[in-house]
Structures are given as C-alpha cells and as structure tokens.
C-alpha cells in the first residue's frame, strides 16, 4: 500500500507541475501563434494519456483489492466485534469477552466479524489495515494481520453521535505462544486505554448559550 501511495503521489506531482507549468508557460509573450496540432493535443493528452495511465492504475487496484479481501472460510474462527454507542466489545471463539481491548495473535492472519448494536460505526486500526463499517443487521468480515507483537491503536471511523471521538480500540498483539494465556487472563472489565481524551466543559459554547437565553427572555420567546 505504501508503494502505491508513493507512486500515485509522484505521478500526481508530475501531472500537476505539467498542467500548471503549461498554463504559466502560455503567458510568455509570442509574436505569432504557436504552431501545434490542437487535435493531436486533445487526442494524445486528453484521451490517450488518461486512458493508458488509468487502465494501469485500475489493473493494479483490482489486483490489490482482491488480495486484501476476507476469506469466506475466515468466518469460522472470527473474533466478533460489536460496536455500540460508544464502546467496542469483542467476543472470542473460545467464549471470552473484552471491552475496548482486542487481543490477537501476532504474525498470523485473523478475521474480525464486525457488526453494530445501534447506529453505523466503523472499525479501523490504521497500522494493521483498512477500515470496515459496523452496520446494524449486517456482519462484515475484515482480514488483518499484526506482524509484530505490541500495541496498535484503533478508532471508530464513522460519525456515531457525541461519543464518537472517544470510541477507541486498543489492539494487543501477543506472540503466538502467549496468546491463549493472555486471552484466558483477559477480563470484561473495561481498561483505561491510552491516549486519554480529556473531557472538559466548553466555556465558549456555554457563554453563547447563556446569551442566547438572555435574548430569548428579552424577546419573550420561551
């Protein structure tokens, strides 16, 4: 994915420079009309160039997309991720349950079966892969792998109400030997996960609200 990003970025920089550069170049004064075939420009640059580059990009995109899809058989050993306003709970094939924290084995693929109990949320652990929406009435499968043991931060990536910014996930990847022990030791007690989002009152907003109240009282509407 990173390679794709750098290639697209480089190509974009070249194209942007080309287009804006050409437009700026056109400002240079000329004595008589510049000679070139407008038809060739329109066909060559307007038609052929985009078609060829986009075809290549599309081919790559399809291939990569296919490689990332969840496997149909992954559903069996999947870890269930239930989203609700505003916390994630996880249910493991062995029957355990945790809140906020997701325990996974490092170095092997695992599948998350994602759904929601109320509104649409989205499960995303940026360093492990792409995101997948949690939709009530539907179970979406996401195939991920944490290459190294460690802690990976995840978030909810679809606006789900006023607690949206606080809906964090902490993925703990354990070395395969330690995994079953860690899972057995895990409890349903929600842990404090970092980073902490402080909740402080918002004075500006309450000032505005107070003055709005004064205005309405004065106008007699309330």
């Amino acid at each position: 994915m990173a390679t794709l990003w750098w290639v697209m970025l480089a190509a974009s920089a070249v194209i942007l420079t080309g287009v804006v550069g050409t437009a700026l170049y056109a400002l240079r004064p000329v004595r008589k009309e510049r000679e070139f075939s407008t038809r060739k420009v329109l066909i060559g640059w307007g038609l052929v160039f985009p078609v060829v580059t986009l075809l290549a990009l599309m081919g790559f995109a399809f291939l990569r997309g296919e490689q990332l899809l969840a496997r149909a058989d992954g559903a069996e050993g999947a870890i269930r991720a239930n989203a609700e306003q505003w916390a994630w709970t996880f249910q493991y094939p062995g029957g355990q349950q945790t809140t906020h924290v997701l325990h996974v084995p490092a170095g092997e693929e695992f599948t998350v079966a994602i759904t929601s109990a109320d509104v649409i949320h989205s499960f995303w652990v940026p360093r492990l892969g792409g995101k997948m929406d949690a939709i009530p009435g539907k179970v979406n499968l996401l195939r991920l792998q944490a290459d190294q043991p460690g802690i990976y931060r995840g978030i909810c990536a679809e606006y789900c109400g006023i607690g949206h910014a606080h809906m964090m996930i902490e993925v703990r990847a354990h070395a395969p030997g330690d995994y079953s022990r860690a899972l057995a030791a895990a409890s349903d007690v929600p842990n404090d996960i970092s980073p902490v989002l402080e909740q402080r009152p918002a004075p500006a907003g309450s000032i505005i609200a107070r003055w709005a109240d004064y205005l309405f009282d004065w106008l007699g509407i309330r």
Binding site: M58, F62, G65, E66, L69
Partner: protein, 109 residues
C-alpha cells in the same frame, strides 16, 4: 410527438449513453441479484454477466454505423447535432467496454 427535428435529434444525441446506462444498470443489478439469491454457480453467473455486457456492446456497435449514415445524409443545419450524436455513441462504446472489465477477472460475491 409533433413535427420539427428536435425530438428525434435529441433521442439520437442521448442514444449512445442511454445504452451505456443500460449496461451499467444491468451489470450492477444482475450482479446484486445473483449474489443476493445465490441461484447461479460461479461460471454460469460470470457467463451471464459477460453476456449482458457483450449484448450492449453489440447494440452500440450496431448503433454507430447507423448514426454515421445519418450524419452523411443530412442537411447542413443538422450536421452539428448528428456529429455530436455519433461522437457520443463512440465514446459510449469505449465507456461500456471500460466498466465491464471487472467482470472478467474479479471474485464474484
């Protein structure tokens, strides 16, 4: 419908991309129905989709010469709209080929 070339020419202008829209709707809709009902196996499903795709491409391939003929045999004041109709039909053929490409290679459901 009444006299005056407007109605007919307007239809000609839209014909090419109307077929493209048909292709898109058929492919997306058929695929959705196939995956939702699960009635067809992998190969027959893909065959159906490719068949629909090629059917519309064939229709466009038949439309283009007809539009070309209409362009050649018209009076001056209708040249522009008939040229535009032909151009759009050719572009629509390319566009239909393009959006059908996924059907050839990707996993089905």
């Amino acid at each position: 419908m009444t006299s005056g070339p407007t109605n007919r020419e307007a239809l000609g202008l839209l014909a090419g991309f109307a077929l493209w829209s048909l292709a898109f709707g058929l492919l997306y809709g058929a695929h959705g129905a196939i995956c939702a009902t699960g009635l067809l196996g992998e190969t027959s499903a893909r065959t159906v989709l490719i068949g629909l795709w090629l059917a519309v491409i064939a229709a466009l391939a038949g439309l283009i010469p007809w539009l070309l003929h209409r362009l050649r045999t018209t009076r001056q004041e209708l040249r522009f709209v008939r040229l535009a109709s032909l151009t759009l039909a050719i572009i629509a053929l390319g566009a239909t080929a393009w959006i059908g490409l996924p059907v050839l290679t990707l996993s089905l459901c």
